[in-house]
Amino acid sequence: MSKVKVLVVDDEIEFATTLAERLNLRGYETTACFCTEDAMALIHAKNIPDVILLDLKMPRMDGIETLEEIKKYNPTIEVIMLTGHGGGIPLTGAHREKHGPFDCVMKPADIKELTTKINQAMAKRQTAINRGKD
């Protein structure tokens, strides 16, 4: 079975690289990007991750806008938002179901909690891909 591809997008370089390293140690194929533009370039280059860990607040293009772009490009990519502040995700109901993030995790995140959510997100993506194939 191929490794789950994870993309960590955070402007905090130390955090992104360390988290990517820790996930790699746990058997994930993790890449770290430090801005949304790089992340979108990677996705457009057909290097599509299974799950994206996306920081909510970033310069230029923030997490919400990036999320919308990602979902527009490929709705099966699951996104887990990482947030360092108290604001909620302004997407609700059906809209949240289809275009919203898989979940939202507050920083500093526990690695076990994070891997559990990545696995759940992967399972959801797999189901969506299988449904698409059928």
């Binding site: 905090e12 130390e14 955090f15 360390t18 988290l19 390293e21 820790r22 140690l25 746990r26 607040k57 360092g84 502040h85 108290g86 604001g87 909620g88 609700t92 109901g93 507050m106 920083k107 500093p108 995140a109 690695i111």
Partner: protein
């Protein structure tokens, strides 16, 4: 807003000082005093003016009445004298001088006149030398010389003369009427003279009828004023009259006079034409009379009663009015403080959120780094300080975890400012809310009964705001009971898409007339003295419930209790709800 005139602002409030001394007691005392004075003046000035007008109107009516009486009396006396003169002229003209000097003829004439005019004392015929040639009457006056007497001189010049009252040869008060005729046979003038008893004049004047409180009499015009008829006040004819007569000889002169009994009387004086007399009419009881006293007493009573009543009413109105203004100011100040407090809390929340966010990022890096070190240590073979390093890293991770708890709490506080949706078990949430009020309920002897529905769906809503709603409702229920009672919390599913929560108390209940106002802002039934109610609790509760897509209703019965029913949707469409809330208000 219409701006009030400057003078009102000057009298009442200096707007610039309004906020500085909003609830200063001195300001309200000053305001109340000014309001009292202005209202009293507004009432009393017209009252005093009306009273003065009534007073002077009444006085002028009395004067007019007196003038009319004097005019009437003057005309009556003048008519009497003119009639008497006409009769005498007619009587004398019927006979010649030679016939009249015949004693028998004169006696007959005297008897005839006396029968019609009992006041005629005697008759006399005086020749051109002033010697009385014939006389009919009770006195011995035949041959008396009148050539030096004023009446003889005056009648020779003016044909007719009425003399002043005198004692003369008769030694009784009388006045003379003399008429001058021309004798064609001798070419000499002769005089027809008659004396009239003053009592005739008195009787005539008495019958004029100028009212019981009047004194009417004649006074001589020449020299020292002497009474020419009897006066109730000044005595018999020929007594001195102690006042000067007015210089104005035309019309009626009205003045005040302090009479012999030292009280003020109203006096009207009029000169009688063709006589040496002035008519004096005194109106007694002008200032001290019954009519005047009654009028003054009545006027005084009405003015005093109106003033006392007005002062009482104005006092109460100003007290009430200023009290209401003060209450409103205090309420406003309390609301301002509340708003300031809320705003401060919101600022603290935002500040806390900002700090937490800034700390969270480096904390996340530390957490990630310590995690990585732990991961790497697990992969490494044993070395000398591995256990020690692992222990130190664990300590660091533990410290990071503590920091995380703090920052997450701060962020949780800030999150209540916005609507943050999460999945909520309403029964668990109610348990959390009640845990805040357990001690309060226990202290007041209030039993909290839980009637939770089983298998309730998980709802999507804002935890913090739901806590605020139910904390407020349960707190209100406890306040409504006061001591010893029961609060019941019921939860159940309502239809397919919502759940219902009832907060029931067996407190004093809400009267029907105010139940429609309880969701309005600033409406409270809690005692304002204790500062327990701001009137915003249910208003905010209503707003939050609407924002969360729910509904609140109330049923109450006085003496039985109150039930607040909250309905919440299982799934919420936040954007639609926010729009709906903006277009509604609790009063609508």
């Amino acid at each position: 807003m219409k701006k009030e005139p400057g003078w009102i602002r000057k009298i009442f409030i200096n707007a610039g000082e309004y906020h500085k001394t909003m609830t200063s007691p001195e300001r309200y005392r000053r305001f109340r005093r000014t309001l009292f004075i202005v209202m009293t003046a507004t009432f009393l000035i017209p009252l005093i003016l009306t009273t003065m007008l009534s007073y002077y109107e009444h006085r002028s009516q009395m004067l007019a009445n007196l003038r009319w009486n004097a005019e009437s009396a003057k005309k009556t006396i003048e008519t009497f004298l003119a009639e008497l003169q006409t009769v005498l002229i007619y009587t004398a003209s019927e006979q010649t001088y030679e016939e009249l000097v015949d004693q028998e003829t004169l006696n007959k004439l005297y008897q005839r006149l006396k029968s019609h005019y009992p006041g005629v004392v005697d008759l006399g015929i005086i020749d051109h030398k002033g010697i009385q040639r014939a006389y009919a009457g009770p006195y011995e006056l035949l041959g008396k010389d009148y050539s030096d007497r004023e009446c003889f001189k005056a009648v020779t010049a003016s044909k007719a003369f009425i003399g002043m009252v005198e004692m003369g040869y008769r030694k009784v008060p009388h006045f003379a009427i003399a008429l001058s005729f021309f004798n064609l046979n001798t070419g000499q003038n002769w005089v027809f003279r008659t004396s009239i008893d003053v009592t005739t004049l008195d009787k005539y004047i008495e019958n004029i009828g100028t009212g019981p409180l009047s004194d009417i009499f004649l006074v001589s015009r020449k020299g020292e004023p002497l009474l020419q008829s009897t006066s109730h006040q000044y005595g018999a004819p020929l007594s001195p009259y102690p006042f000067e007569l007015p210089h104005n000889r035309i019309g009626i002169t009205i003045s005040e006079e302090r009479g012999v009994w030292d009280y003020v009387v109203l006096k009207a004086v009029s000169y009688l034409e063709g006589t040496p007399w002035a008519l004096v009419l005194l109106k007694h009881g002008y200032l001290y009379g019954k009519d005047w006293s009654f009028f003054k007493a009545r006027l005084f009573f009405i003015v005093m009663l109106s003033t006392v009543l007005a002062l009482l009413v104005i006092f109460q109105i100003t007290k009430l009015f200023v009290g209401r203004i003060r209450e409103a100011d205090e309420k406003r100040e309390s609301i301002m403080a509340e708003v300031e407090h809320t705003s401060k809390l919101a600022s603290i929340g935002r500040l806390a959120a900002g700090i937490a966010h800034e700390i969270n990022n480096p904390l996340a890096i530390i957490s990630a780094k310590t995690g990585l070190i732990t991961d790497l240590l697990e992969l490494c073979e044993d070395f000398k300080y591995k256990a020690k390093i692992a222990s130190e890293i664990h300590g660091t991770s533990h410290a990071v975890e503590r920091c995380k708890v703090i920052t997450h709490r701060l962020l949780g506080f800030a999150r209540r400012m916005d609507v943050t949706l999460e999945n909520i078990n309403i029964n668990t949430l109610m348990q959390e809310v009640l845990s805040f009020l357990d001690q309060e309920a226990l202290y007041r002897g209030i039993h909290v009964d839980l009637d939770f529905g089983k298998s309730l769906p998980i709802i999507e809503s804002d935890r913090g705001q739901l806590q605020q709603i139910f904390l407020n409702l349960v707190n209100n229920a406890i306040d409504a009971i006061g001591k010893d009672g029961k609060v019941t919390i019921k939860t159940r599913k309502q239809g397919q898409n919502s759940i219902q929560i009832d907060v029931v108390d067996n407190g004093k209940g809400i009267p029907q007339e105010i139940i429609s106002h309880i969701f309005e802002p600033f409406f409270t039934t809690k005692d304002s003295v204790e500062k327990k109610g701001t009137g915003l609790g249910l208003f905010i509760t209503y707003g939050i419930i609407k924002k969360l897509g729910g509904h609140i209703s109330v049923r109450s019965s006085v003496g039985v209790g109150t039930t607040f029913t909250v309905t919440l949707p299982i799934k919420i469409n936040l954007s639609r709800r926010v729009h709906n809330v903006e277009s509604q208000s609790p009063g609508s």
